[in-house]
Symmetry: C2
Subunit: 452 residues, 2 copies
């Protein structure tokens, strides 16, 4: 079944490369799936990769390149000259993969590589694709597809398809166009299989076909393919002419990236990074939110300093500062996460802001009451001061309710003004709730000590 890459295997490859042996493990690499070979490249040095790639069959080499980790591919391509890239890799690639790969090269090198592509039709397809932004339907689509004219007979259709199919790895759908190249429908392979040979395309095709415009955002495309369970989606230009198709495997990557991005945002990481990135990149991705937290901490210190007199008289109030801050932060993260996820999955429905806040108020109040009763019990038993017990438990319930409402409100507002609501999760909401929580705690404390 699926291949499991081991450290031992990598070590064997390294030894074989170093000893310069030609047969054996190095040529056997070709028997692995390209995705597995790519993993091997991810785990050896660029120089080792350069010595390994000549052992790969040409069709396999280009698939391997596509599957490599982005950072590894970047360094690997930087070590090759433009002609090598065009000859060894681009020639066997689908237009969309080639365009994606070229997108990652520096502008100068990109042009050099394109000028070395032998197949002029492929070169022009790739140049076309490079015009579209990476995160648009045009940037995701491939030009390779099977299209038949609505006026054709099934015989002609099959003949033409045979010609077209030679360049295409997987045939998912046959697109039907009219004389002006306008997409008018699809013909399923199943229908074609079941059709009598004397029928015509126009009697067999489905007229209903979902398509997207080339400038549509990739998240939008992902949402459509996910919602309608599509395996392939045709892309049209402003005049509804068929110009390409997007397949689900590219969309799986978009979906993963979207989810990863929200997760990283919630964890206070500002760029898309992974553990393989350099110390510099990782530091840069993490510092911004830490500085937000630092600023929040300083503001927190300012809030507490307003009550320094009170703290001198009642130093025991300091004990529950972390509790109040942590609970406000946790509740805020929870409530904002539920909203952010609902927005991302488009599952919020049509409840009004007011209804949503009302519901969150109930949830937060219930959680607040439970936590507040527990902390009241604890403080009454283990702390001497009834004032403190009252202050902590009353403040806690207020902090939880406030944090819940705030965590619900902020992402909804951000979304309304077209700002990514995921910004509201993680360190931002935690920091805000820390500060407000301290205000509430010391304000209530002041009241409680003066009341009783």
């Amino acid at each position: 079944m699926a291949f499991e890459l081991t450290k031992e295997y990598i070590d064997q490859i390294k030894v074989a490369l170093e000893s310069g042996e030609k047969a054996g493990i190095l040529s056997e690499v070709n028997e692995l799936h390209p995705a597995d070979i790519a993993e091997v490249f991810d785990n050896i040095s660029i120089e080792e990769g350069r010595s390994l790639y000549p052992f790969l069959n040409p069709e396999i080499a280009s698939d391997v390149l596509i599957e490599m980790d982005e950072d590894v591919r970047e360094s690997f391509l930087a070590s090759l000259d433009p002609e090598e890239i065009a000859k060894s890799f681009i020639e066997n690639m689908d237009s969309d993969d080639a365009a994606d790969m070229l997108q990652e090269l520096p502008d100068r090198k990109k042009d050099d590589v394109i000028s070395k592509i032998v197949d002029s039709e492929q070169a022009s397809d790739i140049v076309d694709l490079l015009h579209y932004p990476e995160d648009s339907a045009g940037g995701l689509m491939a030009k390779e597809l099977i299209k038949v004219n609505v006026g054709w007979s099934i015989m002609k259709c099959v003949r033409e398809m045979r010609k077209q199919a030679e360049d295409i790895q997987n045939v998912y759908t046959i697109y039907v166009i009219d004389d002006r190249e306008k997409l008018v429908g699809t013909l399923s392979l199943k229908r074609l299989l079941l059709a009598p040979t004397d029928s015509k395309v126009k009697d067999l095709f489905y007229q209903e076909v979902l398509s997207v415009k080339a400038y549509e955002k990739s998240e939008e495309v992902a949402a459509i393919m996910e919602k309608y369970d599509l395996v392939a989606l045709p892309v049209v230009d402003e005049l509804d002419r068929l110009i390409g198709r997007i397949t689900i495997d590219d969309i799986v990557d978009v979906i993963k990236e979207e989810a990863d991005k929200d997760y990283q945002m919630a964890s206070g990481i500002s760029e898309s990074v992974d553990s393989g990135d350099s110390v510099r990149v990782l530091t840069r991705a993490r510092l911004p939110w830490l500085l937000v937290g630092l600023l929040g901490g300083i503001l927190g210190a300012l809030v507490i300093s307003q009550y320094e007199g009170q703290l001198e008289i009642h130093p025991e109030m300091a004990l529950f500062i972390p509790l109040i801050a942590a609970m406000g932060g946790n509740v805020g993260v929870q409530s904002s996460a539920i909203i952010v996820q609902g927005l991302a999955n488009n599952s919020l429905g049509f409840d009004s802001l007011f209804a949503r806040l009302g519901k969150e108020f109930l949830v937060a109040l219930l959680n607040g009451i439970v936590c507040s009763v527990l902390i009241l019990g604890y403080t009454l038993v283990f702390e001497d001061s009834i004032n403190l017990a009252a202050a902590v438990s009353v403040a806690l319930i207020l902090v939880i309710v406030f944090a819940g409402l705030f965590g619900t409100f902020v992402p909804l507002m951000l979304d309304k003004y077209k700002i990514d609501p995921a910004l509201a999760t993680g360190p931002f909401i935690t920091t805000m709730n820390d500060i407000v929580g301290l205000f509430i705690y010391f304000g209530i404390g002041h009241l409680m000590y003066n009341l009783f």
Copy 2:
């Protein structure tokens, strides 16, 4: 293009249902895509749904049911009797969808529905599928597929495929089996299209085919399909006999669910919930982590109470408690998120624990130095006490480094012992770092005030 559901449209439907009008908008609903009709059901009451569904065409009704929100479907099915469910919905469903839906019914009702299924072959397929755990390859697969014998001619092959294809919505791959039903390869539609009619299956088929065993975990299946960019994956039993196939649209759901689960875990939500769930469900999902936070807060109070004497003399130390706690929490969440995501994406490579901690040490140290210098500057300018400035800045750098290492170590250890590493994110790591951070802060403070 894609349909956008509006509140106005929902209101029109509701009015039409109430007035009992038969024509117009209600029968036009059939022109929408089933996924869109399902969204309508998600936004009207169960009673309204019951009055709406008789307007749907039978084939559409079952697709709509599959696309509904799980909670809505559950309540909707609860309102129907077993015979209605079997006749109106199950009859037009693929076996995998039918099994998934039945899985959600109470045991008694499930059996009643199965006994009402007319097509005995479908009933037996469904019963077969119900034996597999929901989160296994068997639970994801459908029985409907196209298989041909390796000994057949292409003519026989096409004839048999025509028969089989009638029951199947989309044909992705043709599976090739031997006389013992063992999966031996695949035949691509493209090859079939290009083949001369007198060729034989055994001359045309690919012998290499990835498959999974029925008991394989669904995350494992998702990882394989994602890695190898597969649209469909065959499932075999212990004797390698072909028993079903999994398609990528089911896997997209698994991928989404996995990502959502990690995100919720990081946000301190213990069950899979969405904003549409009841107040009771939402409260239950959020309370456990809040209680962890509460316990952490109490432990924090105990730590501070050890230093209450010091606080009485230097109440200004209280000012920076929230800063220390927040920074420890933030760094811990960042570093654990990077590891958890690396584990989920299988992109951690073969670095040793020691190398990983070394790298995290550098990242945390760099971030720590920047934050520490900033807070040193601030405290020197705005606070009177040099001891406080020294205590805060030294403690901050130590807390950041500790939190970074701890956040890296814990998920790696959990993973090693086969516990979900996502447990280490969110409130747990924040709470732990709060407590340790306070120890460090007051310990260093004690030192600094006694040193100078």
